[in-house]
Symmetry: C2
Subunit: 450 residues, 2 copies
């Protein structure tokens, strides 16, 4: 009988937990190492509610471990974008067909649920406050730091799964090996989380089943609903220039700026100036690298392999999709780690590159284009095309968000082709009614009929 390989998963976040559950299901024993303390400990609750957008690729993964119904109960469906202009006037753009939504979920809540599932498995051990310092790649010997005691110790797992995030220490060790391609690139924008609390009666102060956007050209604010009646707002804002995080230096400047550009929001943000200076300014990084695996002994996945900016709401979904693909390969190739990992990286790399580029592009769309009446008209025309040619045309957003079987790279390629068709088509269109003009219909028939 073969010796059971010792597997370890670095990172007890969303992807690390889901992966450990899949590995355990295949009969492996799994050690999970997480740098931070157990976030289920009540004393760690920070009071801030960071939420994520969960869509079909993510739900598909949660269904496999039987918690999608429980999570859906505490998730807020968002059926459309609500755009707020400078005077507080609203416009709307549905995300998909009737009933289709993306879901705002609490990152911490979801992580706790996954940790509980992992802990309930006899062949998964969770180890908190254990930080990877370095991996000696030729031997797979990992130097770990016990964060509480500050003692170092070493482990030598047979296989290391690195789900340790955008700043992965495992990846840093791989980076020093020969021919490891690596790129980390930052936007010149940071983000700041702010709060719209519930109304006095505990209800939401904005339309609750929507993602709110205040598009302002070179910057924007968004708000996602939480189940407690609050919204978490995120300001995406230049680090430097005018206006920027650097140019707003006093509470009075912040309040005055928000009153000028986000008047309908600022009325709902009593703690604005305090939060603005107390909450950290985050940065926005894209990480690309290759290869993701080393000799069947180390595999990068999730943000450690492909961190992306948040503007398509696909970071967690892409990480969960990694687990979905890996799960299939684990079943097909059993213990043949080199084949599993090589196939995994070949299949996934083009798709995670595609969603990385789409995410950067969507920032431009959200902060700028959704404020443009021509863009919104184009989206309405596109919805009509989808209605008329449902098999030939699905909007890019729907391909990414609501079509979990369509690889991201295919969605991107289809989207580029459609964009070119739309560009030509919009030359003939001034109003929604123009859609019915003969030359428009003729053009569509030519381009979209099989």
């Amino acid at each position: 009988m073969e010796k059971t390989p010792q597997l370890c998963v670095m990172g007890g976040g969303l992807v690390g937990c889901l992966l450990s559950l899949y590995l355990a299901k295949q009969g492996y024993g799994v050690q999970v190492y997480e740098r931070r303390p157990d976030l289920r400990r009540a004393d760690l609750f920070s009071g801030r509610s960071i939420n994520l957008a969960l869509s079909d690729r993510g739900w598909r993964a949660l269904e496999t471990i039987g918690i999608s119904e429980d999570i859906k109960k505490v998730a807020m469906p968002m059926y459309r974008r609500v755009m707020h202009d400078g005077q507080g006037n609203l416009s709307f753009q549905p995300y998909g067909q009737a009933g289709q939504a993306i879901y705002s979920v609490s990152r911490a809540g979801l992580n706790r649920a996954l940790l509980n599932l992992a802990e309930a498995q006899p062949n998964i051990s969770l180890n908190f406050e254990q930080q990877v310092l370095e991996v000696d790649v030729p031997t797979n010997r990992v130097t770990m730091l016990n964060v509480a005691s500050q003692q170092e110790h070493q482990i030598t797992p047979d296989v290391i799964f690195a789900a340790d995030g955008a700043y992965s220490m495992v990846r840093l060790s791989l980076q020093k090996t020969d021919r490891f391609n690596f790129e980390q690139s930052y936007l010149n924008y940071g983000y700041k989380e702010l709060t719209i609390p519930p109304a006095a009666d505990g209800t939401w102060q904005l339309e609750k089943n929507a993602l709110h956007i205040w598009p302002r050209g070179q910057y924007m604010m968004i708000a996602l609903p939480n189940i407690d009646g609050s919204f978490t707002c995120t300001l995406f804002f230049p680090f430097e220039g005018e206006p920027s995080f650097k140019s707003l230096q006093t509470p009075a400047q912040v309040t005055s700026f928000f009153e000028e550009v986000f008047p309908d929001a600022v009325a709902l943000m009593p703690e604005l100036a305090q939060e603005f200076f107390e909450n950290p300014t985050g940065s926005l990084v894209t990480v690309k690298c290759f290869p993701w695996q080393h000799k069947g002994k180390i595999l990068l996945l999730g943000d450690a392999a492909h961190a992306i900016v948040p503007f398509y709401g696909q970071g967690m979904n892409a990480g969960f999709e990694d687990c979905t693909v890996l799960r299939g390969l684990l079943e097909t190739h059993q213990n043949d780690w080199e084949t599993i990992f090589n196939t995994f990286q070949e299949v996934r790399k083009p798709n995670t590159d595609a969603i990385a580029d789409l995410a950067v592009y969507n920032f431009i769309e959200m902060r700028d284009k959704v404020a443009d009446p021509r863009f919104l008209l184009q989206k309405k025309i596109e919805a009509k095309i989808t209605g008329q040619y449902p098999d030939a045309w699905l909007p890019l957003y729907s391909m990414v968000t609501f079509s979990p079987d369509l690889p991201y790279a295919q969605a991107l390629a289809n989207g580029q082709r459609q964009e070119e068709i739309m560009r030509q088509l919009m030359g003939h269109i001034e109003t929604e009614a123009d859609y019915d003009k003969p030359q428009v219909q003729e053009f569509l028939k030519t381009h979209l009929s099989a």
Copy 2:
């Protein structure tokens, strides 16, 4: 009186030595730390002769420290490319005007000359076998390893100049700071150095004042002359596929392959099979990053800031040009390191990005295009254009190599414009004589007259 800042230069290679001379000339005391032993120690001579192409940007720097004449005496001018086809037939392409050459120089010899100059300065101290392990960026505290004793110690210079190469440890520390953009990308090709020894009478077995190329489409070999009568050949070859480093596994396979594809060279390479397996296979990396400086306390330069592939022969020249630019800024801004470093990176970054991209492009030209008669015809036509319109048209290669006052980015932009003109022009040209056709002359007059 202001305290004299303590400066250290990490890296005692070509760029580190030249920079330390410039800093010393400005009156600063400089500590130079080099990871390797002093390569002037005779027992370190490895017997292998690695050469570099020195061109006008490099010569300009060497003139400032008074050693250009001495170096020229031991340099081999190369006036043209000599292409060797599969039957050993030769074709030729001059590098520039009559008398213009790039120079093959010994890297070790040049480094020794620079070390001697640095050592002769009372305010420069050279420290060998001192490896940077880590920089604590907030405090500038550097942990160094004495490679001989394996003892660690710490230094805290006021300013760190990191000339520690493509795998810079200083840069690795900066990479962990927020918003540091970084990319390392490898070609799927490796390189192997091989030797054509001198003839029995000590003379060169190929035309000595030329750079020889055996272009073979997907791979190539080149040879640069050395002053001792030998040539150093470099095979640029895929790591994998057919043929590749992976596919050639035995001496018999290597010999048979070389006899088939490089028949005229293999006859001159008695140690081929032995060298092929004894010499290491190098990899080819491009490094881009930004920012290059941190708060006026750390500056990356040379390969540490912008490592490039060797196909334009500009790696050392670009590093020396960094020193030239920095030298001017040191004089203008005295001690105002933040201004010096900010200006430096703003001026240099677009230019080093340009030469990085040009270097990758030139690999395709060398391994593939120079074997194409149409390409060589185009080069002859281009020489005619330069002759007729000397103020309006300088070939890209000359702009990069022989025009040290023209920034690389400007050379690249001019080159792209010229490439488009050539593309249109070559539609009218079948032979060299067609250059005199009226429509060709008319076209040139329209596009190139001021």
